[in-house]
Amino acid sequence: MLEIKNLHASINGKEILKGLSLSVKPGEIHAIMGPNGSGKSTLSSVITGNPAFEVTQGSIIFEGKDLQEMAPEKRANEGIFLSFQYPVEIPGVSMVNFMRTAINEQRKYRELPPISATDFLRIMREKKALVEMDNKLTNRSVNEGFSGGEKKRNEIFQMAMLEPKLAILDETDSGLDIDALRIVAHGVNKLKSPENATIVITHYQRLLEYIIPDYVHVLHDGRIVKSGGKELALELEARGYDWIKQEVAV
């Protein structure tokens, strides 16, 4: 589904990703862990086409299509979704209007007519229930004045609305309280299918107790330096990153 080969990417001339490779198949859950500043968010930005970053080398292929040829909105409409580490506030744009626009853009891309008002409201209701999102939030402007946890929950709500093939969750767990974490993780699991895949970026084993990964990768200094099964996350939790950094240095 997603094939990343020898990816190099930089921002403002500074190289952040330094030859990263990753292969994700349908139905898989990949966890990416790694120290602060190692390039995890950069990877998600590059996959989704954030123009602030420049790919200098390597390739990103999604379902056989070269993502570098595609504008960010096209990648989104191809089914790639990013739950932002820092969701952006858009004052004045209501959640309802935002979501309806997003859904209709996706439908247009798939040559479907715009969604009817009743269908839209029904789906909104369903997905809100799925992540137990408060009605009050969807009546407000996108993320405006949302608490940290509310923003994260709103990201998963949007993911549920858009039903992506590939979801990248960038530290969705940070900022969520214990109950919210369970609810959001439950929502993510509900959306799982053999056809779609998830990349979970996290610092904590806790989330991975709910969303059980098939693979765990350690990102360090712009490269994946270690991969393993879900037990690798436990080991990292217990030992930290230093031993891996030493292994790499050898």
Partner: protein, 478 residues
């Protein structure tokens, strides 16, 4: 925002740039006393009207074009302008008689008369060039005692009303363009709502400029008698032109005791091309007077067009307990320049005014808000709140705010707040990531930003205004 994005988004061309080929009857170019007399004669005006024009013309000769700090206005040669153009055919009584070309033009604009009539029950008084071509629903209104007709018809059929109110809010001596308009105005609309009558429908006029080198000098007079209500809509889109065209309109509103007048505008004159060539010069004098106690006037405007806009819809709050509002969205893109705002003149006791101005600048445009709040010595307990927001798309455009306050009564409370914001790359990318193109994202954000004002517009106008905002900034992502 990055230059490339700005470049892409500012590349959109004026969507309504086309001309219709309706024969026009043009008086030779240039301005003189003789031309003023000719205009009056062509319109079969009574002597008092001619006198009014001549007085204004003579006064205009003594005046100089004003200079502004934030507008760069090329020299205008008033002798190279034609001061009168009227469609040749006689004014039709029904839609069937309307020039099919004109109907086609309205169709291209997406505002077909037919549809409007059917869907929204608007009485549409379409002004093509200088003479009213079409008035609908006039008869229905007439039965309620409401007069809604072209200014020329009002001069002919309701001379007493016209004589009583014309020039009382905007005297011909008011400013250079008001004097010019008073001398050569071609036509416009006249509205009179009698005592105790609530006008049951939105009254609407569409202005268009359609003859080469023809100055447009509309004149509108709205009188709302005691305890009456009216909502008036003015909207315009203009076809593409190479020559700069001058537009100097006057709008006067009189609100008597307990009267309520709502005046809404969506303005979309041709703004010129991307290099700043062509485009309409829009110098408008709009003013209302809350003459009676408890009277109320509100101005709502969405300004997207014109190369240069100079416009300050204002209110004189003369009656005790009267109130006024000014809600404005002004968008400038490419080389457009706008200097708009309002004046609130508090004279009566317990008067209040509210100003909400939202500027949006893109390209290399300049967008200025200029507002005056004056509280007279006898205006006990006057209240004003002004909010001026600016939104910048890109970093080559400018937004300026000039609030002036003259408070001569200690009991007054006058407050002013201003904000400036930018559309951030993060916001755009967030939308992109949800499948929304940059253009649509800007549309969403801009419409969100302008919503508070757009919501004040009547429904059918609000939809059009939203479309206009997006079209104007299309390609112009910030």
């Amino acid at each position: 925002m990055s230059d490339t994005i700005i470049h892409e988004v500012t590349q959109s061309e004026y969507k309504y740039g086309f001309t219709t080929d309706i024969e026009t009857d043009v008086i030779p170019i240039g301005l003189s006393e003789e031309v003023v007399r000719m205009i009056s004669a062509k319109k079969n005006e009574p002597e008092w009207m001619l006198e009014f024009r001549l007085k204004a013309y003579r006064h205009w000769l003594t005046m100089k074009m004003p200079e502004w700090a934030h507008l760069k206005i090329p020299e205008i040669d008033y002798q190279s302008i034609s001061y009168f153009a009227a469609p040749r055919k006689n004014a039709p009584q029904s839609l069937d008689e309307v020039d099919p070309e004109l109907l086609a033009t309205f169709n291209k604009l997406g505002i077909p008369l037919e549809e409007q009539k059917a869907l929204s029950g608007i009485a549409v008084d379409a002004v093509m060039d200088s003479v009213s071509v079409k008035t609908t629903f006039k008869e229905t209104l007439y039965e309620m005692g409401i007069i809604f007709c072209s200014f020329s018809e009002a001069v002919e059929h309701h001379p007493d009303l016209v004589k009583k109110y014309m020039g009382t809010v905007v005297p011909h001596t008011d400013n250079f363009f008001a004097a010019l308009n008073s001398a050569v105005f071609s036509d416009g609309s006249f509205v009179y709502i009698p005592k105790g009558v609530r006008c049951p429908m939105e009254l609407s006029t569409y202005f268009r400029i359609n003859a080469v080198n023809t100055g447009q000098f509309e004149r509108t007079l709205i009188v709302a008698d005691e305890d009456s209500y009216v909502s008036y809509l003015e909207g315009c889109t203009a076809p593409q032109r190479d020559e700069n065209q001058l537009h100097a309109a006057i709008v006067e509103i009189v609100a008597m005791k307990n009267a309520d007048v709502k005046y809404s505008t969506v303005q979309n004159w041709y703004p010129g091309d991307k290099e700043g060539k062509g485009g309409i010069y829009n110098f408008v004098t709009k003013r209302g007077i809350c003459k009676g106690e408890n009277s109320h006037i509100s101005w709502t405007q969405v300004e997207t067009g014109s190369a240069i806009t100079w416009k300050y819809p204002s209110c004189i709050l003369q009656g005790d307990n009267s109130s006024a509002e000014f809600y404005s969205v002004a968008v400038t893109n490419h080389h457009q320049q706008a200097d708009t705002g309002t004046k609130m003149i508090h004279l009566g006791k317990n008067t209040s005014s509210h100003i909400l101005s939202k500027g949006i600048s893109a390209g290399v445009s300049q967008n200025s808000y200029r507002g005056l709040v004056r509280v007279g010595a006898n205006a006990e307990n006057a209240r004003n709140f002004s909010q001026c927001d600016s939104l910048l798309l890109g970093d080559k455009c400018g937004a300026h705010t000039f609030p002036y306050m003259e408070v001569n009564n200690e009991s007054a409370i006058v407050e002013h707040e201003a904000t400036t914001s930018k559309i951030s790359e993060d916001q755009i990318f967030y939308c992109n990531q949800r499948g929304i193109s940059t253009e649509d994202a800007v549309g969403l954000i801009v419409n969100g930003y302008a919503k508070e004002v757009v919501d004040k517009l009547p429904m059918e106008f609000a939809v059009e205004a939203q479309k206009l905002l997006q079209i104007t900034l299309e390609g112009s992502v910030g």
